[in-house]
Symmetry: C2
Subunit: 200 residues, 2 copies
């Protein structure tokens, strides 16, 4: 059957186009993402983009979906790692994911379809993250009255986003001190050596 072949190839082409769109978005911002710029980046003509994604909204939503799925997989992997907190922090410092998120969020401001998808997926992911931190905080014996999992999720994402974005722009005022302090804070819960320190 023709569908089997085309189904596999089509998925690869879709992915190729999404990759190109992500690269363009990272380099030129969301407003630089056009059927033509994506096509050029993917080595393809503009109408082909619309063949796979009828409207650009469809493409943006697909990009978003792929990103959230990746984030979920990463989050689960981090939780299962020896030092979940440190792993999570390092993941958050990856400029690609963070910058894409910033662009998609800004984009969603005037694209109702994208906005709707973003809100739904983000709320879902946020709940997953909070559940993960609830378990982690319990394991570490963190005072959840003082620093609840909800705040941990927001703080982790917020701080990382600021640092990554500023670094991408060549602004590094105070970053050394902040990064060092965060490392020390994490080390309190997840010591680098094998010595434990759980004094609350």
């Amino acid at each position: 059957m023709a569908r089997a072949r085309s189904g596999a190839r089509a998925e690869a082409k879709r992915s190729l186009i999404l990759d190109a769109a992500a690269r363009v978005m990272l380099e030129h911002g969301y407003a630089g993402v056009t059927s033509r710029s994506i096509g050029a980046e993917a080595g393809v003509q503009a109408p082909l983009v619309h063949y796979y994604f009828p409207t650009l909204d469809d493409l943006f939503v697909a990009l978003l979906q792929r990103g959230v799925e990746h984030s979920k997989r990463q989050f689960a992997a981090a939780l299962a790692s020896p030092r979940p907190l440190r792993t999570l922090w390092q993941q958050h410092l990856d400029p690609r994911g963070t910058s894409l998120t910033v662009e998609l969020v800004a984009l969603s401001n005037h694209r109702p379809a994208v906005r709707k998808a973003l809100v739904e997926m983000s709320a879902d992911f946020q709940r997953v993250q909070i559940a993960g931190f609830t378990e982690l905080w319990r394991r570490y014996g963190v005072d959840t009255e003082l620093f609840p999992p909800e705040l941990a999720v927001i703080a982790l994402g917020g701080v990382a986003r600021v640092i990554v974005r500023e670094q991408a722009m060549g602004m590094t005022v105070g970053h050394d001190a902040a990064l060092a302090a965060i490392s020390r804070l994490i080390a309190r819960l997840e010591p680098e050596d094998d010595q434990e320190d759980e004094g609350g």
Copy 2:
């Protein structure tokens, strides 16, 4: 001389146009900001926008400048207030300033002139904020090894930006818990009553 009269009026018109641009940007995102949309919002024709701001880059830079100046004034006022930390936090929760910042940052991704201005002004403001927090932390006896002023500035801005943006999109998962925890953290350094607590 004619300049005196026009100077005053021109400044008012400039301000009117900047206000309109800010409103459009808040409502439709930066990509929705065009000479025509600004004109419509300001009750003026598009070319007049270019009369005051030859290119849109000029307008964006002016908007940025005005915003930073406002932020600096607000920051100084907060530091001089009875409870600087709480005042700062409430200022950061104002959706207008935060959302505008997010848009201008995204915008600067593909507008070199705006990017340059943003980096310079932000770095300057960041240094002012760090200096302010250094003094404040000294007053409060905060352990700067554990939580340096640099991290405080980044955390305050980062967390506030996440919450404000999510609220603007109708996403409030975990916000109640996070906001309550932040209030309690602030209250540790700045009690609501008149009882002092400077235990380091």
